[in-house]
Amino acid sequence: MKIKAISKIALIGLKRNRSRSFLTILGIVIGITAIMMVMSIGQGAQNLILSQMQALGPKVIAVLPGREPKGITGMLSTLSDSLKNSDVESLKNKNNVPHLTNIMPIVFGNEVISYGGETYRATILGVSEFFNKIYNITVDEGETLTEDDIKSYANVAIIGYKIKEKLFNEESAINQKIKIKNRNFRVIGVFSQKGQGTFVNFDEIVIIPYTTAQQYLFGIKYFNRIAIEVDKEENVNATVEDIKETLRTNHHITDPEKDDFYIQTQTQAMEQTKTVTNTLKYFLAAVAAISLLVGGVGIMNIMLVSVTERTKEIGLRKALGATPKEILFQFLLEAVFLTLTGGIIGIILGATNSLLASLILSKVLAVNWQFTFPFSAMFLGLITSLIIGLVFGLYPANKAAKKSPIESLRYE
């Protein structure tokens, strides 16, 4: 069989009906474009979320009060007051948690802060001197919290990049007094720009000693969260077990089902996020794939019309010696050319649209949105369009191949 010559015939057949061929592949183009965009933008979103989670560092474990939230009602339990100072002391004990290097209790709440006439509602984080190290954040100017600040219930604050801009504009914030809940705090530092983190936006926080926050701002004796840093990444899982055991002993819990705390590690959180975003991504891609099915039916429809229109040509080719196989091949090729062209256009459109979307999202959301070319979606798109051409082209092509040459030649 002359593959090259028959391919040429198939191409000529398509060129003869340029506008019809174009309209026919539109369904495939739209389908592949949609899949490409969903995959590319989905990947971009996933990367963004994961990169922010990574900022926490793989060696950090978070202990949270209450039960692990499972559903909407579970969220309320974050208000639990189960994590106390005694827990922090027990966890610090090398006999209980041998791999622990740093431990930091955290309390937080939203308060209005003011400076001069300006006010701003910000997240107040009561933390310890390990904050910068654990969250991998540096101060732009000034200094950070010290152990003394914690012990002495100091009224000092380090403010986020955006808060500095809002309250002080061009002025220096260092050593200025800001008011939080009618209490004066001296600004000792300003954080460098960092953006959204796992649970707060670092540009909109105010950091004060947790002791001061507990005593004077929130009036509580418990912690909202305890961050623990482990010496080595491979010790994270063992340490999680150590922490559980220590806290169960402290809280007199024998049944793990009744834990009044839960533990999050970065790996675990990232795995969960990945699962969720992947599910979403593939679900959307599957929805987009439905349009491919519709496009395939369109191809089949047009190919059937084409086979009927060209009955006489088919009869002639058969009389001149084309075997049924060669006729089948010609029409199958026409269908595959159509869908592959649609697929390639879809891939190009999908990639350019995703690139544009990533540029717009970066601008609008002011985040570092990375464009990723979805190679997997590209191969998937190419293979899918090939398969659609084969599947939906087979029936019309088979019809053409089975035509009787005599009757076809008589067809008007």
Partner: protein
């Protein structure tokens, strides 16, 4: 050995339970190099006979030997290959592909042959030279006269140098002058050694052949050599 041998050949059609007999007990032989005309009124079975002889249809009874091999020994695939290699077809309606150039129309049988692609253009040119149309290579059929279109079709039929050319009313759609031209082309090909079998109901066209088989109601009425053969080439001049 006869090129074509038909023995007690019959063809029946069954349409909605009504049996129609198209051909009854037909026997004849055609030798290589003959120019045979099959004539008869419409409905006499000419076309059915040509379809069977051209491997486009199979008989219901009797046998047909092409180059000594029975039609029943060919698979559908082999019949297609034999049509391509050994048989050339010329139709009343020309059956050229309208949006394809003269050259590409003549090329059509080559696509389905074993001839290497690099020889295609030369074969086409040779075939078109025989019908005197080499100056029309890149024209489209609708730019040609009816006679020229039929000559393109003849070029297409002879491009693979077949054992036999089947012509189904080749002058039926042409005026008498163009018809004469076609007949002179066919006579020239016959003089060069091509076997030609043509179907016609026109007396003039039949008279151009060297043997006339008359069909009536699906049976051979007469089969005789044509002693008053018209030389169509003379008329042209």
């Amino acid at each position: 050995m006869a090129l074509i041998k038909v023995k007690n050949l019959s063809k029946k059609y069954c349409d909605d339970g009504n049996e129609t007999i198209a051909l009854k007990n037909i026997s004849f032989e055609i030798e290589k190099g003959e120019f045979v005309a099959i004539t008869g009124p419409s409905g006499s079975g000419k076309s059915t006979l040509l379809h069977i002889l051209g491997f486009l249809d199979k008989p219901t009874e009797g046998d047909y030997f092409f180059e000594g091999r029975s039609i029943y020994n060919y698979s559908e695939e082999e019949m297609a290959k034999f049509r391509n290699k050994k048989m050339g077809f010329v139709f009343q309606q020309f059956n050229l592909l309208t949006k394809t150039t003269v050259l590409d129309n003549v090329k059509l049988p080559l696509i389905y042959s074993d001839v290497p692609e690099k020889e295609w253009n030369k074969l086409c040119y040779d075939a078109l030279a025989k019908v005197g149309l080499t100056h029309r290579l890149n024209h489209f059929p609708n730019q040609l006269s009816g006679g020229e279109q039929q000559r393109v079709a003849i070029a297409r039929a002879i491009v693979l140098k077949p054992s036999v050319i089947f012509a189904d009313e080749p002058t039926g759609n042409l005026d008498s002058k163009a018809g004469q031209q076609i007949m002179s082309t066919l006579q020239n090909l016959n003089n060069e050694g091509h076997t030609i079998l043509l179907i016609t109901h026109e007396t003039y066209t039949a008279q151009c052949s060297s043997r006339i088989i008359k069909l009536f109601d699906g049976e051979v009425q007469s089969d005789s050599l044509n002693n008053q053969r018209i030389d169509a080439t003379k008329f042209i001049k």
